[in-house]
Symmetry: C2
Subunit: 167 residues, 2 copies
DNA sequence: TCGAGATTGTTCGGATACGAATAATCTCAG
DNA sequence: CTGAGATTATTCGTATCCGAACAATCTCGA
């Protein structure tokens, strides 16, 4: 959502379309900006950090989660990555094809599948993750230092609330 | 990214994996929470507002943008919706199949395609959008009223910065 | 006028995304 | 010990999603 129209233009258009209604533009800005920001930041990472490694955003997140919790169970990876198990199966296929991760059956529970990074996968993450964090610092630097924690808190509040509603 | 692990657990794991590096966890929290929040809020909308209409998130956004700027040029819809032109072609096919939108060639410029909502599309949006805004208000109410505008501002700052970098 | 270059929407190939159905495995009450 | 029910990863069908290649159309200098 990287619109070329200004906020004022958009509000004006919306008002003319729904002039008979009362709308909360501030609430609209909160969610609208949330999606625009997430999309823009994600594209930024894909272009500036992930592009050269040939990883998609999701593939990187899966690789990252696996790297942190290795050996990781697929159900946990899916949960932590925010994707369905069905999607994860496909992403793991891609990562195996790239020789970055590998699957193995759990001895303790035959239903479970454990995921590990290959040596190539480890090497990649040891370079990629610091590069990622450098970009995170660069991006965060646009928010006043004193407000960063509060900003992160508000984001977490939104996450918690919407997830709570899901139950 | 809706993890079951606590922030402290994750930080501890990361530190043990990259103990030889200095990482900025606050910057990490900013971007990480941004994606979690966007994902959670989007899922919330899909379940609570979009599910009954059978619209995907993207299909709704495209419909919304078209509705506001109608008749809308596809290049603008793609830009405003944050998707590629290739993706838009597919989504428009879906919307046409659902009899919610329709395409037509521009008389002034034969390369352009103009998009309009059908009567059914208008009717849907006139019900859907207010319902959407009600949810936006509900979600935003979790952020103190005095901080909402500042929060939206910070999100916009992130969007502007990362898009600026793209040039 | 005309044609090289720019712009636009579509197609194509491949990856991501999910819900539902499925097969394999485990649990645990009886 | 056993089998009904629960849990897990995969497969299947369908819809996104994107970059690259493409065809149609427009622009504008010579």
């Amino acid at each position: 959502m990287a619109g070329s129209h200004t906020l004022a233009e958009t509000e004006s258009q919306i008002t003319s379309r729904l002039s008979h209604m009362t709308l909360d533009f501030e609430a609209m800005a909160v969610t609208s900006n949330l999606f625009r920001a997430a999309s823009a930041v994600r594209n930024h990472f894909e272009r500036n950090v992930l592009a050269e490694s040939g990883l998609s955003w999701t593939a990187f997140v899966v690789l990252w989660v696996t790297w942190i919790w290795e050996p990781a169970e697929t159900r946990d990876i899916a949960e932590e990555s925010g994707i369905s198990k069905a999607t994860l199966t496909g992403v793991l296929k891609t990562l195996e094809k790239m020789d970055l991760a590998e699957r193995s059956r759990s001895d303790a529970d035959g239903r479970l599948v454990l995921v590990n990074l290959t040596q190539k996968g480890h090497k990649l993450m040891e370079n990629l993750f610091p590069a990622f964090n450098r970009q995170e610092i660069e991006i965060s630097s646009n928010i006043p230092a004193g407000e960063r924690a509060g900003f992160a808190d508000m984001l977490r509040i939104l996450t918690t609330y919407t997830q709570e509603q899901a139950k």
